[in-house]
Structure formats: C-alpha cells, structure tokens
C-alpha cells in the first residue's frame, strides 16, 4: 500500500469543540425563548434575529466545517445569503411604497403620513 491510498481528506473537528458548540446553541435557544417573554417593543424581533444569526454562524463554522474548509465553499454560501438579503430588503423597500391604508381595515397597524 502506498501512503497515498490512506491519505486522510478533510479536517477532523475535536469532540470538545462540537460539544461546546452544542452547549452554546442550547444556551442561545434558552436566551431567545426567555427574551420573547419580555416586551422590548420592536427590539424583540431584532434580538431574536440576532440570536438566530449567531446560532446559524456556529452551525456553519463548526458543525458544517466551514472554518476548516476551503474558502471557496464559504464564498458560495456567503454569496447566496447576500443575494437572499438583497431580495428581501428590496422587496420590503418596495412594499412600503404603496398605500396599505387604501382599503380601510386592511393593514390596521400601518401608520402613514397621508392619514
């Protein structure tokens, strides 16, 4: 057998890292549930999304090996997330350009300057 046939591909993540990441994920889940029990106004949504982004980053970097992977794979996923953000932000920008109050009672929580 040549040493080549047994050459290891990929990176072995230490078990300790995996367990610590799971602990962090569970703790962040507890945080996001606890935050939802309190009223921080519009910040509730942003805290929930921030925690979710941190959790997603932990899963991507360690469980999915992106930290140890070839950078090109990270480029693929970052570009797809950037395109998704662009898609949602432009769509949200667009939806505020109409008059949701045109139909009375249709969007009762939307404040407009025209009223």
């Amino acid at each position: 057998m040549t040493p080549h046939a047994h050459a290891r591909v990929g990176h072995v993540v230490p078990l300790r890292v995996l367990v610590v990441v799971l602990a962090a994920l569970l703790m962040l889940t507890y945080v996001t549930v606890e935050v939802s029990r309190h009223d921080f106004g519009r910040f509730n949504l942003w805290i929930a999304l921030g925690v979710a982004v941190v959790k997603a980053a932990l899963v991507l970097l360690f469980f999915m090996h992106l930290k140890y992977d070839r950078p090109f794979n990270a480029v693929i996923i970052i570009v797809s997330l950037a395109v998704l953000m662009l898609f949602i932000v432009i769509a949200l920008q667009d939806t505020t350009q109409y008059r949701p109050t045109q139909i009375p009672g249709y969007a009762p929580s939307i404040k407009t300057n025209t009223q």
Binding site: G10, L22, T32, A48, A56, F72, T95, P108
Partner: protein, 267 residues
Amino acid sequence: MSHAEHPPYLQHHFETPEQQFDAGKIGIWLFLATEILLFGGLFCAYAIYRANHPEIFVYAHQFLDKTLGGTNTVILLCSSLTMAWAVRASQLGQKKLLILLLSLTLLGGFGFMGIKFVEYQQKWKHGLLPGAHFAPHEEGHDAVAAVAAKPTPPVSVGAAHRTTIPASAEGPGGTVPPASADLALREGPTRRPNNVQVFFSIYFLMTGLHGLHVLVGMIAIGWVLVRSARGHFGPEYYTPVDFVGLYWHLVDLIWIFLFPLLYLIGT
C-alpha cells in the same frame, strides 16, 4: 499512479481522493445554496406579510405551542451534534460509534416529525388551516382559553393606535363601518383580526417544506446508516456521511430561523 493502487471508491476521472472529495464538496455547497434560495422566497413572503400585518402575527402565533416548538429545536440541535460527531467517527474509522451516532440522529428525525405530527393534528382539530380551509373554532383551544382567563394583556402594536376620539356610530355615505381589525387590536389578542388565515398559510408552507426536508434527510441518513453497517466508510472514504451531514445541518439551520420567527413573536 498504476491501476493496482487505484482505490475502489475513487472514480476514474479523478486524480486523487482529495480532488474527488473537494469536487463533491463544491457540488453539495452549491446545492445547499439553492436550498437557501428556495426557502428564501418563503422568508421573503413572511417578511412582507409581517411588515404589513403585524397584528395577524401577534394574534395567530398564540395558537402555536412554544413548548413543542422549543422541544423540537432542542431535538434538532442535539441531532446536529450527533451528525457532526458521526462524521468525526467515520473520519477516525470508529465503525460502531458511527452506527450508534447515525441511529441517534435518525431517532432525532423521528422525534421531530412525531412532534410536528402532534402540532399539525392540533391545528387540524381547531380548523386552523391555510387559505380557504381556515375555519377556526378556537373555543376549545388551550391558547385562547389561557388568554381569556388572564386580564387582557395589551398588545404593543395596538397601543400606539389608541385614540381618544370616539368612533362614529355610522360613517358618512360610501364609507365602510369602523374596521373590525382595528377594534381587534384595541381589545387585545382574544379578538381575531382579519385575514388570520394568511399566517397559517405561511406557517404550513414554511414548516411543511421544512418537514419535507427532514423526511428526505432521514431517508439519506438511513441510506448512510446501511452503508456504514456494511463497512463502506473509513478514514480514506467517508464522503457520503459528510455530505448527508451537511444537508442535515442545513435543515437544522433553517429551523433555527423558523422557530423564533413563527413561535416567539410577542408576549
């Protein structure tokens, strides 16, 4: 490299196992990117409806069981750990551990789908179905009973719209009566706003598509489990375990966003 040294798992069009592994990895990441964009359309629909109709989300999310949703989050996170650990075990050639960890991951998938089934069944029982099938009879629902028993908690969205001007008994000719959805906000979350079925359309589409992915992931894990029992994987070849793992983590990733966005909307 002569043919005698060519390992059986190495396709003839690749030079080295490393090249084969990297090429496959680019492929699976491209696939995961398309998955993100597939769910992205639904996340966009969610964002637009929530931006325009926050009252629907504040009201309707009460019908989702936070405990069941939270349990499912914990189950998926733990199954992600066992999957990542399974990849590690296959890399190190620990066959028995690999089989055990893949079985545990599969068990997590069954647990998730079981709880999802209970949740869907409750929605079905109370007529909380998407679109035209929405025919709610909330009386028997625990969430509403609990809300009704408590003194009505104020909804932050509605509070901003409180007015001291008394509502006119009847609008001038040609206008509609005071909007019932507007009243619903002022009277707290026990009154149902208009178009609540939109929330359940979004809920069933997002969790349904996600559940479908969990099912596909479970089939893939089952396949890898059978192959690992046959001893197909070792330190020099574990590509299927790794790629099924990446898919399973993506399913977990999407749930990480779905859980707070659907279950944890407000107090």
